[in-house]
């Protein structure tokens, strides 16, 4: 892998950006999701609509925002609205096509934990930031993309705390709970892509990134990983994609 002219994080970001079709409305969190979404706007999806939970609809930043409430988001947005409005009028009714989530832990049914690691909520091993917008993003966006680096610490059989529901305990749970969006249709990691099995909703490896071996993916998954029969290989980042990503990063660093 070291011979490749891109890093695993770059591959992950490019893969995430490709998952965004042009013209869709995307609820963006800061960090990798924001990088991927802004990369998509600069490559194949110029009409991607970015919604940030700080209340900016249609933000068009020319560098990566440094926080969810970066001034450049307000300066370039079609509309700046209050935080209650972004959740109540725009996210909750299902007006957002794609939501991005990160995860400290992700389990095989796509449930996400960003609250705490350990078995005692009152005395956690690691206290994490908490829910933020994630529970309702996971519930209300038409579909969800989870972006997370793959490791046995992150990819667990069952999350210690369900901050955001993926497929619960399996097929039919979302419907039973009354969750309206389709849930995490795509999990993009630094190793490959996982998608829910149509029958069981268990996350199944459907693609590996160039240079990644199946053994490595299995070794970095905390449950016995199922692999799709027609395992694809991710197309490598094109020179255009890589150049755009690096330029974006560079512009951002210059701004700081």
């Amino acid at each position: 892998m070291d011979a490749q002219p891109w890093t695993p994080d770059e591959m992950m970001t490019v893969a995430a950006s490709r998952a965004l079709r042009d013209g869709v409305v995307c609820f963006v969190g800061i960090g990798l999701p924001s990088t991927a979404a802004n990369l998509a706007r600069r490559t194949h999806a110029p009409d991607l609509v970015l919604v940030y939970e700080s209340g900016t609809l249609g933000a068009k930043p020319d560098r990566l925002p440094l926080s969810i409430g970066d001034g450049i988001l307000a300066d370039t947005a079609d509309a700046v609205i209050s935080v209650p409005e972004v959740f109540n009028y725009w996210l909750q009714p299902g007006r957002v096509d794609v939501g991005f989530l990160g995860a400290a832990q992700l389990d095989k049914y796509g449930n996400v934990n960003t609250t705490m690691i350990g078995d005692d909520y009152r005395r956690p091993k690691v206290r994490l930031p908490g829910a933020g917008g994630a529970p309702e993003i996971a519930a209300s966006c038409r579909e969800v993309i989870v972006v997370v680096r793959q490791s046995t610490r992150a990819f667990v059989e069952r999350v210690d705390f369900v901050t955001s529901v993926g497929f619960g305990r399996g097929k039919g749970d979302r419907e039973r709970l009354g969750l309206r969006g389709a849930g995490p249709r795509t999990v993009i990691t630094d190793l490959g892509v996982l998608e829910p099995d149509p029958e069981t909703c268990e996350l199944t490896l459907t693609a590996v990134h160039p240079g990644v071996g199946l053994d490595e993916v299995r070794a970095r998954t905390g449950w016995p990983l199922r692999v799709a029969e027609s395992l694809r290989q991710t197309d490598p980042p094109t020179p255009t994609e890589l150049a755009a990503l690096r330029r974006l990063r560079q512009q951002t660093e210059q701004q700081e």
Binding site: G71, V80, F87, R127, E136
Partner: protein, 302 residues
């Protein structure tokens, strides 16, 4: 009508021991100067409320002002964790910190209900998560027309609310623009309120995207130029990203943190007898509170 006064006086009137208090701001316009003044005045037993507790809450918690936190996302945005917050949750240092935890949608609606004079709000939220198991403040509610079951959360009832804004006029009408988060709701939820502002002007000329909070809905207004530092005030200053990064090392270590408290908040040398709440905050609001390594170029008026 809002009373216009100094920051130390306003803080002493508005934020009292044992208060349920929100210092709101969604990355933008975070009332740091007022938070530091609260530390300086030695408030204790606060229930801190906020959607996005960040450095100022880490500082208030580390300084021992808080006994409870009601929140939806606690971190150092773009950098990582809040170590004073973690230390309080995991090791009760300097004091135990009880948590009540929500989602952003839940917290935003709790503010809306509070501002609306209602006891609760309804949303599609929390369903299937482990959050309802941690607090009794999330409950199911049935639509009387469709029978659908949704989620209710109680209104936030604040004793006090503190926000920062760009400007006020001499009547105490406040104008803020850019990302305005839940600031209006926070003020309207509170019995007592304080708005710190970059400047007090003769007239609030209308601006695109600006909201105005009328003087009669506000308790106190205090001029605190740079009072949002290290966060930013759109049109006045940019975010001091170095401060946020430098905070990680300070917050990580109890002794580092105490040194920071002594030198930048209490403004005293080692061996000084103790906190001096009467020492005013006005002379400390212009970047004097920045951690070492912060870029002195930031915070300048744009």
């Amino acid at each position: 009508m809002a009373r216009i006064t100094s920051l130390p006086e306003a803080v002493s009137e508005v934020v009292q021991d044992g208060d349920t208090v929100a210092f709101e701001g969604f990355t933008h316009l975070i009332p740091f100067a007022a938070g530091h003044e609260v530390i300086r005045q030695g408030r204790r037993g606060l229930t801190l409320v906020r959607m996005t507790p960040d450095l100022i809450y880490d500082q208030l918690i580390g300084a021992g002002c808080a006994s409870r936190l009601v929140f939806s996302w606690g971190g150092n945005p773009g950098v990582g964790s809040l170590h004073r917050f973690r230390d309080a949750v995991s090791h009760d240092w300097p004091a135990p910190l009880e948590l009540e935890e929500h989602s952003h949608a839940g917290m935003a609606n709790r503010y809306v209900a509070g501002a609306s004079g209602l006891p609760f709000a309804v949303l599609r939220g929390y369903v299937g998560t482990d959050l309802p198991g941690q607090t009794s403040n999330i409950a199911p509610i049935t639509c009387p027309f469709t029978g659908e079951v949704l989620t209710a959360v109680p209104a936030l009832k604040l004793d006090s609310a503190v926000i920062h804004a760009q400007r006020a006029d001499r009547h105490g009408n406040v104008q803020l623009w850019g990302i305005t988060g839940v600031q209006k709701e926070a003020v309207l939820c509170a019995t007592r309120s304080l708005v710190t502002v970059e400047e007090i002007v003769d007239e609030l000329d209308p601006r695109p995207g600006a909201m105005v909070l009328p003087s009669w809905a506000i308790g106190y207004v205090a001029e605190a130029p740079g009072g949002a530092h290290p966060s930013y005030a759109q049109g006045y200053s940019v975010r001091d990203n170095d401060y946020y990064r430098a905070w990680d090392a300070i917050g990580r270590d109890r002794e580092e943190f105490n040194r920071w408290l002594d030198s930048t908040i209490f403004n005293r040398s080692p061996g000084d007898p103790g906190p001096n709440p009467e020492r005013g905050g006005a002379d400390q609001q212009n970047g004097a509170d920045r951690p070492s390594g912060a870029d002195q170029q930031n915070g300048a008026r744009a």
